[in-house]
Symmetry: C2
Subunit: 666 residues, 2 copies
């Protein structure tokens, strides 16, 4: 066989990075390409070891440049100069995360959180008055929700906004140190206004948490009267973001400062709201902020891709130890252990990519998309809750995945991975807080479990984690698996699985799907039973909840794992190019079997895996690693991260490497 034939034969059956990238880039490929092009400007080159002040200035300058690109406008309604294409906006944000994550978070605060609060919690007059300046960054703003004493439990924040009907103003007050607004991005330096979340009181009556627009600095950049601003100082990462603390002492704002979509106050102090129940209102308001979680999740996805691109390329270039009878040393990615470190993480990154794609599509569908105004309030409640649950679960899973993956990539690159020039240190440090902000991951998983346990009932939102225990004990709750959009293909695959587990290959997708589904249902049934028993034994609800907390988290994780798998399966099913689909199929096997290998104890304990079959998972993962090893390079190329953003000399060609190794790129 001649070389030419050989090449042709190969081309005929193998996937190409370009085809695969097309599949990954998906519906909003155009914005991905635009952002890729924008970020190649040296202005956006990744940096490290920059003095905090300088980094903050650089990020603000970068943000001003971005303000002139189409990206930010995508997020806002057309009526106010935006493009109203939220799916594209969030996809662009995901792509932007290949660059400096300080810039990402800074712009996320400005457009996503501050702008998002005005869009979703405000009404037309707020939109008209502020959105143009928010988009162009003429009005840099903050999202002042978290307090020193209350991060995860937003409902308990203690900042107050009391209506003074004699002047028609709200008085904003920070009652004590624990109520200081903390970790607020844009606060320490650039913010001029803040969306401040506070307990609203009118005519002596409390109405729960609402947001108000409060000026914090005057035109000269000095704090407004009554506003104290403190710098949070240096952080593990994201030091280009000026996080700060805000405290308010008798700060007065006019009545229309209240973002009044879900609750408005008349001149005489009369309070009205379209949602009567206070807790329900609270969760509806919080629900509009789901976009922040989707965005962080996307950022964690891109950071994982960047780290894997660096580590895989290094693994394909670095040699160490001689094989016997061989002159050349072994490529480190040829060692099984190195494959086991990198390739399952790469496969799971693919799985999570498609989960993120679905999440963005749902966000787009719920929050408006092509319509002229963004109509969160009109969205179907069930769709919205499904979105919130998926967002909470994927955000938690994705950000933990990023933390573990980037850490492992650092280690897989040895000493080179510890040098800042090779980007992994900054990626690690910047993303580390992703597991905490926009909802602590553990708390988010409890939110997922709560939804599953309360079965999308109206009571949702009225139950805290503890109330949930009573609710479950009181109701006949039956565990129902809510299928993803992949319903039909998943059911088809499950239906053809023979009855006995042992008769089926571990590579049988239907068997894998059935196993994931069975675990979720079984765990959900189990925790329901335990809660009910605990309550009927007369135990304290806190003790009941606390004694099953690990089980609750398992339920949530099992749920998300199943959804992620189903969404991966559906994405492969949609894939039109057979070679690409075949490759993705192998990647899906590696993802699924390494998940099953990780969790095989549970399946052994519950009689769904025999010991022999469980051991077989380890062999199968090893086989898949060997099988995907030749595709490793292609799999990271398909992420399409420009070399200017990969940046790490160890991940670039010989020549570029030598040059860059001498110093930081200009």
């Amino acid at each position: 066989m001649g070389a030419d034939n050989d090449t042709e034969a190969t081309e005929a059956v193998e996937a190409s990075a370009a085809d695969l990238r097309r599949v990954l880039d998906g519906r909003w490929a155009w914005i991905r390409d635009e952002v890729r092009a924008t970020l190649q400007d040296p202005l956006f080159a990744p940096v490290y070891d920059m003095a905090t002040d300088e980094h903050r200035d650089r990020v603000m300058a970068q943000a001003r440049v971005l303000a002139d690109t189409p990206g930010p406008r995508l997020l806002f309604p057309k009526a106010f100069g935006g493009d109203g294409e939220i799916g594209a906006a969030v996809t662009g944000f995901e792509t932007q995360a290949y660059g400096d994550l300080s810039l990402l978070v800074k712009t996320g605060v400005q457009w996503g959180l501050f702008g998002g609060a005005i869009v979703h919690l405000g009404t037309e007059r707020h939109h008209e008055r502020y959105l143009p300046d928010v988009m162009t960054l003429r009005l840099p703003g903050c999202f002042a929700m978290t307090e020193t004493g209350h991060g995860s439990d937003v409902q308990s924040i203690r900042t107050t906004a009391t209506y003074d009907e004699s002047t028609g103003e709200f008085v904003i007050e920070t009652p004590d140190d624990d109520a200081v607004k903390d970790y607020i991005g844009n606060a320490a330096r650039h913010g001029r206004m803040a969306a401040v979340f506070a307990q609203l009181t009118t005519l002596g009556e409390s109405h729960g948490v609402h947001a108000l627009l409060v000026p914090i600095r005057d035109d000269d950049g000095n704090p407004c009267p009554g506003v104290s601003i403190e710098d949070c100082g240096h952080k593990a990462g994201l030091n280009g973001v000026d996080n700060g603390r805000l405290a308010f002492h008798e700060v007065r704002v006019p009545r229309d400062a209240l973002l009044d979509r879900y609750g408005s106050v008349a001149a005489d102090g009369t309070y009205t709201s379209p949602i009567e129940n206070e807790t329900r209102r609270f969760f509806t308001m919080l629900g509009t902020l789901v976009q922040g979680r989707v965005s962080v999740s996307g950022a964690a996805l891109s950071a994982s891709k960047a780290a894997l691109t660096i580590a895989v390329r290094y693994g394909l270039a670095r040699r160490q130890f001689h094989a016997p009878d061989s002159e050349r040393e072994v490529l480190i990615l040829d060692f099984l252990q190195h494959q086991r470190r990198l390739l399952p993480a790469l496969a799971t990154t693919y799985a999570l990519h498609f989960a993120q794609e679905e999440l963005v599509a749902q966000l787009h569908s719920v929050f408006g998309g092509e319509s002229d105004t963004i109509s969160s309030g009109d969205a179907d409640d069930l769709d919205r809750r499904k979105l919130e649950t998926l967002a909470a679960g994927v955000k938690a899973t994705m950000t933990w995945h990023a933390t573990h993956t980037i850490q492992m990539c650092r280690e897989a690159c040895g000493g080179a991975g510890y040098l800042s020039v090779n980007r992994l240190p900054q990626l690690k440090a910047d993303t580390d807080v992703f597991t905490t902000f926009e909802g602590d991951n553990t708390v988010l998983l409890q939110l997922v479990a709560k939804t599953l346990l309360t079965n999308f009932r109206d009571e949702f939102g009225e139950l805290d984690s503890l109330g949930m225990v009573r609710f479950v004990a009181d109701q006949v709750v039956e565990a129902v698996i809510e299928r993803t959009s992949a319903r039909s293909i998943v059911q088809r695959l499950i239906d053809v699985v023979p009855g006995r587990d042992e008769d089926v290959s571990v590579l049988d997708r239907g068997w894998q799907l059935a196993l994931f589904e069975w675990r979720e249902k079984h765990a959900l049934d189990g925790v329901t039973r335990r809660m009910r028993k605990g309550m009927s034994d007369g135990a304290d609800p806190f003790d009941v909840f606390n004694s099953v907390q690990d089980h609750v988290l398992l339920v949530a994780q099992a749920h998300i794992d199943r959804e992620v798998l189903e969404l991966f399966v559906a994405a492969i099913d949609r894939c039109e190019d057979p070679a690409t689909a075949a490759l993705l199929n192998d990647v899906c096997d590696l993802h699924t079997l390494s998940m099953l290998e990780r969790d095989r104890a549970w399946f052994l304990e519950h009689g769904r895996l025999t010991p022999a079959r469980a051991k077989g998972l380890t062999s199968a993962v090893n086989d898949l690693c060997r099988r995907l090893r030749p595709q490793a390079g292609l799999l990271v190329e398909a992420f399409g991260i420009p070399d200017a953003l990969v940046a790490a000399p160890i991940a670039l060609g010989e020549e570029e490497r030598r040059q860059r190794a001498k110093g930081q790129p200009a």
Copy 2:
């Protein structure tokens, strides 16, 4: 019952932090106290966000102060102004790790690595001429072993030292970019001399890797002729250490620059060595550097303790979410999930503390201790190999434990854990490279496995990981469990375990010990069988090795896990105070059962746990978390970390916290 009685009753049965600390401080308590006292000087306060140059200067200034304390002298023979108390020296180093880890690494390079190379690889004239200046830091030095292209595979380094018999000099040469000495601490700025590892050639014959003392800077601090010095630049952490790259072009050093304990060159170029076999000689030389691994392991232990002190104290102060019918919010350490994050890690830190204690004791016993000169060459070979194996395994286990624990502590402190003022970011960043330097952890575990497989035979050291496959295939290797010093107590406990697993409580120490032992032996037998079968099937040795690499690593981990458990059991057995012993017993249970819970899949697969019993492990871990929750504060107090070094405002009392929160301590 009156309050007084209550207190007395409590005191009678409960352990105190002081008693526990006495047990932990152990044999070299005095040096721990000395170092604690020294480090309370504001000069040594932990720092962050310091410009690299300033940090390097500060660390050098701190090191000069330390040079005047007894610590460094402990490492060196009495004949040259030292104290020859290596166990105390390494214990002091461990304690010093409560402070800035840049200082630790800087001094570790100077006294441990550079000084250690001279002590262990040099002979009397090197000792006389250099050690006094090394101790006092008049001669700042480097340890130039790692090359850009060779870190883990030191035997393949390519720097050459060629003897020129016409001038009686060695010519040091860096043949290419991959042979540049890389990541060398003290090189970028302060080092004046380097112990350079190079392939030695005399009279056209190669003798393998040897170390030579090569001046790299003159008295004015300028690079010596032929020496190129490059700065490694910014790193993830440890930026107070000036890591650099060294390249040599025709650099000539006199004949006595060769550290010639294991190989000397006569004026005419004749080479002689007490160890004929080149590979064996190489491993003997490397073996003298075991002290570096023991030291890094100790540093990782202290960093874990510091992080846990911060996270546990925060967990005992921070409240979030209301329990039903309760005015006060719940302390976060009262949540089961929070306990499950922190307490098993705390228990394993205790386990590893006692493993480290044994490691230091073995190091002290092998390398001299009270004797006037440090006599590494005379040590019993078997003891030395046992020490090397234990050091490799504990270093790998400890540093991964530190990485995971510190990460988890950061997350457990939420946003506060991300602020540099709360120390966790710096702890994470500084320790991250511990899994890589002084031996990459994966490579070290292979070293452990190799030792187990070759059963302390003479062939040890002559086999690389691949040669091992042939060796195992050719020999009748029987898996023999080498008992730790805890032999008698362990055997006694195992002997009284009833026959059937199911009849025994999971808290039965003998049952736990038997299980750990059985796993090691079974895994070792299994991997031996697989290697032999692979070779007899005629497969390529590399493929055979590679296909069992994950199994090999499992063997090593099982071995270390058993040793760590046995050493913990022995430590409790030695503990004279019954209340302290009882508490340690609970801690040991939590450590052991959480290990078993983590690895329960393996035991299920191998029929040593029934599904019911495996599930029981999870309940038992939960029970132990609840049980140890009231002791959490005491368990971290017993580490005895001075508040000045804990430093994090979130881990200090209200008042100190408020003051420190305003800015970095002076």
